[in-house]
C-alpha cells in the first residue's frame, strides 16, 4: 500500500483561517479600488459627464423600408403600397386613457378590436413612443378628427404606407397578405430589422418571400428636448426598400380560370412543363386579402369562417382530392417502363373485374364493358378493367414506387408555406397509419386512383407537367425574377436543375401521349369536344371520383343526384408534340371530369394562347389516335 500522509483537521482549519483572512483583505482591496473608480467617475469627472448627459439628447429612430411590389410575369401589379393615414397616441401624455378612448370613440368611432390591440401594444412599448390606435382612416374620419383635434392633444394623424392588392380575391391565396406583426411573428422575425415595421407577410408569397420583400431599415438621429419631444433631425440613413418580385403566374390565365369556375368550389393549377414555372394557381372560393391588411373585423372574419365552402382554405396547396382516373396515364407509363405491358397488349373489358379466387367484383364505367381495348383505347375510354389488371400485375410496391417518382405522396417543394403531403398508398403507409396489412383489393382500386390515394391540385399538376416534359421533373416555383427598384432591370432567378427522367424508352412516352391525345381528339374520347377550334393539339385525361364510399350513409342518401356524388378532375397539356402548358382542374362536385372540368381547362388554355404564335395549319395528330 502506498503511503498517504495523515490528514490533520486542526492544521487544515488553521490554514483555511489564514487564507480566508488574506482572501477577505484582497477582496476589500479590490472593492475599495472599485469604489475609487466610482469616486473618480462620479465626483472627479462629474461635471464632464453631467454635461455629456445633458447633451445626450440624440435618439435613434428606426425608419421602416417600403415593402417590395409584386407583379405577374407580364408586369401586372398584384401587390402595391398606397398612402394612408392612421391615428396615433402617445400614452405618456395622456392623463386619463379611458376617457380619451371614449372621447375618440364618440367622435369618429374606434372599434373594440382596435382598443384591445392598442392596449396590448402600449404595454410592449415605452411610454413616450407613439402607438397606432386606428389604421386606414377615411377622408371623413380625418376631417372629423381635424375639427375635434383641440380635444385630443396627445393624439395625431400620421401618414403611412399600407398594402393594397388590386386583384383582390383572384390572387388572395397565391399572393397572400400582410398583417400586423403579432407575438408569433416576433418569434420568427429578426427584431433588429423590424424595429420600425408594423406589418409582415402572413400567407402566400408575402409570407414565403418576406425576407426579400421587407428590405433593410434605415434610421434617423433625432435631437429631443428633456421631454423627449423631437426638435430636429441630425442625420438620416434612408432605408433600402424591399425587392420587387416578378411571379411566373399570368394574370390572364388566372382570371380566365377563376371566371370559368363560376363560383363552384375547386382548384386549378397550370404549370409550364419546360421549366416548372407556375402559370396559374386558383382556389375557389377565394377571399379578399385587403380585408386582412389593417385588421379584419370580427364580422368579416366570422363570415369567412362560417362559409361551408371554406374560402380561407388554399385548395391548390392544401386541398385533398381523390385523383380517380387522372392517375391512369401515370400507371400506363409505369406499366410500360416496368415492362409489365406493351402498348399493343389488349385486355377484354366485360363490365366487371374479379381478383382470381375472389367473389367481389370491380366495375367498369360502362355496363357490359368496353370490349377488347389496347393502351390507347384504355385511356381514351377510361377503361377501369385495364388498370385493375395492370395494378394487380405491378403489385402495390412497384406501383407506389413508380408513382412516388411522379411526386405523389410528398410536397412538391413549391416556394409557398404550408403545402400538404397528400397520400400515396403503400404497404408502409398503411402499416404506419392504420397498423394494418395491405389487401390485394386495395391494389386494384389504387389502379383507378381510388381508395386511400389523395392528391393536392399542385401535386397532380406537377405530375402532369412532368409527364408532358417526357418524364423530366422541374421544381414548381412562382418566383421568376427580382428587381431592386422600379426602373432597374429584373434579375431572373437561377433555374434549378431538372430531376431524373422517368422514361428510359421514349417510345413508352409516345404511347401514353397518344392515349391522352385520343381522350380529347379521338371519336371515343371522354372529352371529345374540348379541343374544338383550338390551334394546337391538346392531350388530356378526365377523372371522376366518388366523394363517398358506396356503403356510406351520405352516398345512399344523395345517390340519386350524380352531381353531388362526384368530385371531378381534368388534366391536360398542349401542344401535344412539344408541351408548353400543363393544367389541371379539380371541382368538388360535378357530373364528370370531361363534362365539367375540361371546359375550365380549355378556357385557361384560350387565355394562354394570347401570347403564343398561332401555327398556320393545325398540326393534326387525330389520325394517329384512332385505334
Amino acid at each position: 500500500m502506498k503511503f498517504r500522509p495523515i490528514k490533520d483537521g486542526r492544521q487544515e482549519a488553521a490554514v483555511f483561517m489564514r487564507r480566508a483572512v488574506v482572501g477577505f483583505l484582497l477582496i476589500i482591496l479590490a472593492l475599495v479600488s472599485l469604489g475609487m473608480r466610482f469616486w473618480y467617475l462620479q465626483v472627479s469627472r462629474h461635471e464632464e459627464f453631467q454635461s455629456r448627459s445633458d447633451a445626450n439628447r440624440i435618439l435613434t429612430r428606426p425608419l421602416a423600408p417600403a415593402r417590395g411590389l409584386i407583379y405577374d410575369r407580364n408586369g401586372v401589379l398584384l401587390a402595391e403600397n398606397v398612402a394612408a393615414f392612421r391615428l396615433e397616441v402617445v400614452p405618456e401624455q395622456v392623463t386619463d386613457m379611458d376617457a380619451l378612448l371614449q372621447g375618440l370613440s364618440d367622435t369618429m368611432g374606434v372599434s373594440e378590436d382596435d382598443v384591445a390591440r392598442f392596449k396590448a401594444l402600449v404595454k410592449s412599448k415605452r411610454s413616450y413612443q407613439s402607438v397606432p390606435l386606428r389604421l386606414k382612416l377615411s377622408e371623413e374620419d380625418i376631417a372629423l378628427f381635424a375639427v375635434n383635434r383641440w380635444r385630443f392633444p396627445s393624439v395625431d394623424v400620421v401618414p403611412y404606407l399600407t398594402r393594397y392588392y388590386p386583384k383582390g380575391a383572384e390572387f388572395g391565396h397565391l399572393v397572400g397578405y400582410v398583417g400586423r406583426i403579432d407575438a408569433a411573428d416576433v418569434e420568427r422575425l429578426d427584431a433588429s430589422l423590424y424595429a420600425g415595421t408594423t406589418h409582415a407577410g402572413k400567407t402566400g408569397i408575402e409570407r414565403s418571400y418576406e425576407e426579400l420583400l421587407h428590405g433593410q431599415p434605415g434610421y434617423e438621429l433625432v435631437e429631443v428636448n428633456a421631454d423627449r419631444r423631437p426638435l430636429r433631425v441630425i442625420d438620416r440613413v434612408a432605408p433600402t426598400p424591399g425587392k420587387n418580385l416578378y411571379l411566373s403566374v399570368d394574370t390572364r390565365i388566372q382570371e380566365a380560370g377563376v371566371a370559368a369556375f363560376e363560383a363552384r368550389a375547386g382548384s386549378s393549377v397550370a404549370i409550364d412543363p419546360r421549366n416548372g414555372e407556375v402559370l396559374a394557381m386558383i382556389s375557389v372560393p377565394g377571399f379578399d386579402p385587403n380585408l386582412f391588411v389593417n385588421g379584419i373585423s370580427q364580422a368579416d372574419y366570422n363570415a369567412l369562417l362560417d362559409n361551408p365552402d371554406k374560402p380561407l382554405l388554399d385548395r391548390a396547396l392544401r386541398g385533398s382530392y381523390v385523383p380517380g382516373s387522372t392517375v391512369k396515364p401515370f400507371l400506363a407509363a409505369a406499366g410500360l417502363e416496368l415492362g409489365v405491358r406493351k402498348p399493343s397488349d389488349t385486355i377484354v373489358s366485360t363490365g366487371e373485374f374479379f381478383i382470381p379466387g375472389q367473389k367481389r367484383g370491380y366495375r367498369d364505367v360502362r355496363a357490359g364493358g368496353h370490349g377488347r381495348v389496347d393502351l390507347v383505347q384504355s385511356l381514351a375510354q377510361s377503361v377501369n378493367t385495364y388498370y385493375y389488371a395492370l395494378a394487380l400485375d405491378m403489385g402495390i410496391d412497384r406501383l407506389s414506387d413508380s408513382m412516388a417518382k411522379f411526386g405523389f405522396g410528398k410536397p412538391t417543394g413549391i416556394d409557398l408555406v404550408g403545402e400538404s403531403d397528400g397520400v400515396l398508398p403503400s404497404r408502409e403507409w398503411k402499416r404506419a397509419r392504420m397498423n394494418q396489412a395491405w389487401y390485394p383489393g386495395e391494389t386494384v382500386i389504387a389502379g383507378i386512383g381510388q381508395g386511400f390515394w389523395v392528391v393536392t391540385p399542385l401535386q397532380l399538376a406537377h405530375g402532369v407537367a412532368m409527364l408532358a416534359a417526357g418524364g423530366v421533373s422541374y421544381q414548381p416555383h412562382l418566383l421568376r425574377a427580382t428587381q431592386d427598384g422600379i426602373g432597374d432591370s429584373p434579375v431572373t432567378m437561377p433555374a434549378a436543375p431538372p430531376g431524373p427522367a422517368f422514361f428510359r424508352n421514349p417510345a413508352n412516352w409516345d404511347a401514353v401521349r397518344e392515349g391522352m391525345i385520343a381522350v380529347v381528339n379521338g371519336p371515343t374520347g371522354t372529352a371529345r369536344t374540348m379541343g374544338n377550334g383550338f390551334p394546337f393539339v391538346i392531350a388530356g385525361k378526365s377523372g371522376t371520383a366518388e366523394r363517398y364510399s358506396r356503403t356510406n350513409d351520405v352516398w345512399q342518401h344523395i345517390s340519386q343526384v350524380a352531381i353531388e356524388r362526384h368530385q371531378v378532375l381534368f388534366e391536360a397539356f398542349t401542344p401535344a408534340e412539344s408541351p408548353r402548358i400543363a393544367a389541371i382542374v379539380a371541382l368538388e362536385a360535378g357530373h364528370g371530369g370531361g363534362r365539367d372540368a375540361a371546359p375550365i381547362v380549355r378556357k385557361m388554355m384560350d387565355a394562354w394562347l394570347l401570347d403564343q404564335p398561332i401555327p398556320e395549319t393545325r398540326f393534326d395528330n387525330v389520325e394517329a389516335a384512332k385505334p
Binding site: 498517504r4 500522509p5 495523515i6 490528514k7 483537521g9 487544515e12 482549519a13 490554514v15 483555511f16 483561517m17 489564514r18 487564507r19 480566508a20 482572501g23 477577505f24 477582496i27 476589500i28 479590490a30 472593492l31 472599485l34 469604489g35 473608480r37 466610482f38 469616486w39 467617475l41 462620479q42 465626483v43 469627472r45 462629474h46 464632464e48 459627464f49 453631467q50 455629456r52 448627459s53 445633458d54 445626450n56 439628447r57 435618439l59 404595454k123 415605452r126 411610454s127 429631443v224 428633456a226 423627449r228
Partner: protein, 371 residues
C-alpha cells in the same frame, strides 16, 4: 434514491417551516433583494409586471435556499460527485441539442427551461471541495492537476456556448477552493506567471466579438456608435449621477434608452445614476458585509469540505460584483456577468440563492464551541 424522496416528502413541510437561516446573512440578502426590485422597477420604466415577475423569481430562490439549508453538509458531500457529473452530462446534452437566442445555453424540459451552466456554479465548488477534502492538504501538484481537469472540461464547454461570463465564474469557483485549501504561495506565483505568459495564446482562441470587447476597453471612444457605445453610455450614466444621484426614476440615461440592457447587465449603471456615489458605496458595503459573513461562516464550519465549499461560494459572489462593477465603470471588459440579486433574470438569482442555502446549511451544522 427512493429513500431520498421518502425523506424529502417527510421532511419538506418542516424544512419550509423552520429554515435554518443565519439571520444576519438572511437579512442582508433580503435588503439586497429589495434594492434590486426597486432599481428594477425604475429601470423597466415602472413596468409592474416585470417587477412582479422578478419578485416571484426571488421568492422561488428563497424557497430553494430554505430547502437546501436543511440538507446536512455531509449529504451534500456524499452527493457531490454525482451532482457534478450529472450537471456535466446536462451540459453535454445542451451542446448537442440546446436552443437559445444567439447562443446555445438553454435546455428545454418543457416545464422549465434552464441553463445547465448555472448548476455548475454550485456543483463545481462542491466537486473540488469533495476532492480536496480527501487529499492531503496543502494540495500537491498531482491533486492540482486533477482539479484543473475537473475545472477545465465544463469551463471549456461553457466558454464554447459561448458564455464567457459564466465560464469565468465557474473557473473562479474551482480556483478559490484550491486557494483556500492552502496551495503554497510559490506555486500560486508560478501558475500566475505561466498564465500571464500564455495570455497571447489565449487571445488567439477568443471569438472576434470577445476580442473587440477587450479592444474597446482599451479605447472605447474610438468607436462611439459601435461597440464602445455600451461603455461610454454607462460611464456617462454613472458619472452624471454625481455624489447624491439624480433620484429614483430620474435617470435620463436609462429612461431615454441610451443605456443598453439597462435591466440586466447594466442595472448597476442605473443604480449609480439614480443614487450617486453615496448609494454605490452603501451598496458595496452591503456586498462586503455579505462576503465577510460568508467567510465567517466558512471559517466556523465543521470540516474541510464545508469550509472550502462555503469559502468558494462566498468568494465567487465577490467576482460577480467586481466583474460587473468593473464593466460598467469601464475598468474591465464587457463580460456578461449580472450584478448579483439586482440584475433582471431568474436563473442567476435562483442559483445564487441556492448557493446561500448551502452556506446556511453549513452554518447550521457548524462546529460547536466546547464548553
Amino acid at each position: 434514491m427512493d429513500g431520498l424522496f421518502a425523506q424529502l416528502r417527510y421532511r419538506l413541510p418542516g424544512m419550509l417551516r423552520r429554515p435554518r437561516f443565519d439571520m444576519p446573512l438572511a437579512g442582508a440578502l433580503l435588503l439586497l433583494g429589495m434594492v434590486g426590485l426597486m432599481t428594477q422597477y425604475s429601470a423597466s420604466d415602472l413596468d409592474r409586471d416585470k417587477a412582479i415577475a422578478q419578485g416571484v423569481r426571488l421568492l422561488l430562490g428563497v424557497i430553494l435556499m430554505a430547502l437546501i439549508s436543511r440538507v446536512p453538509p455531509s449529504n451534500l458531500r456524499n452527493w457531490s460527485p454525482w451532482l457534478y457529473f450529472g450537471s456535466l452530462i446536462l451540459l453535454v446534452l445542451v451542446a448537442l441539442l440546446g436552443e437559445g437566442r444567439g447562443s446555445d445555453r438553454w435546455l428545454d424540459l418543457h416545464v422549465v427551461r434552464f441553463q445547465p451552466s448555472e448548476l455548475l456554479k454550485l456543483t463545481m465548488p462542491m466537486m473540488v471541495a469533495w476532492y480536496l477534502n480527501q487529499r492531503p492538504l496543502p494540495p500537491s501538484w498531482s491533486s492540482l492537476g486533477v482539479v484543473c481537469v475537473l475545472i477545465a472540461i465544463p469551463a471549456a464547454l461553457i466558454a464554447k456556448q459561448p458564455d464567457l461570463g459564466t465560464a469565468l465564474l465557474i473557473v473562479a469557483s474551482g480556483l478559490f477552493a484550491v486557494f483556500l485549501s492552502g496551495l503554497a504561495w510559490w506555486r500560486i506565483g508560478l501558475i500566475f506567471g505561466s498564465v500571464l505568459a500564455a495570455a497571447p495564446l489565449a487571445w488567439h482562441f477568443l471569438h472576434e466579438y470577445q476580442r473587440n470587447r477587450v479592444r474597446m476597453l482599451l479605447d472605447p471612444e474610438a468607436d462611439p456608435l459601435g461597440l464602445g457605445w455600451h461603455i461610454i453610455q454607462s460611464k456617462i450614466a454613472v458619472g452624471s449621477g454625481g455624489l447624491w444621484g439624480k433620484g429614483w426614476h430620474q435617470g435620463t440615461q436609462s429612461r431615454l434608452e441610451f443605456l443598453p440592457e439597462h435591466t440586466t447587465d447594466f442595472i448597476f449603471s442605473v443604480f449609480a445614476e439614480e443614487w450617486g456615489l453615496i448609494g454605490v458605496l452603501l451598496l458595496l458595503s452591503l456586498y462586503v458585509f455579505i462576503i465577510g459573513r460568508g467567510l465567517w461562516i466558512a471559517a466556523n464550519a465543521r470540516d474541510t469540505y464545508s469550509r472550502l465549499l462555503a469559502g468558494s461560494i462566498t468568494m465567487v459572489f465577490f467576482v460577480y460584483v467586481m466583474v460587473n462593477g468593473g464593466m460598467i465603470t469601464g475598468m474591465l471588459p464587457v463580460v456578461g456577468v449580472p450584478l448579483p440579486l439586482v440584475s433582471y433574470g431568474g436563473t442567476s438569482a435562483v442559483s445564487l440563492l441556492a448557493g446561500f442555502g448551502v452556506l446556511m446549511s453549513i452554518h447550521a451544522h457548524r462546529k460547536r464551541v466546547a464548553g
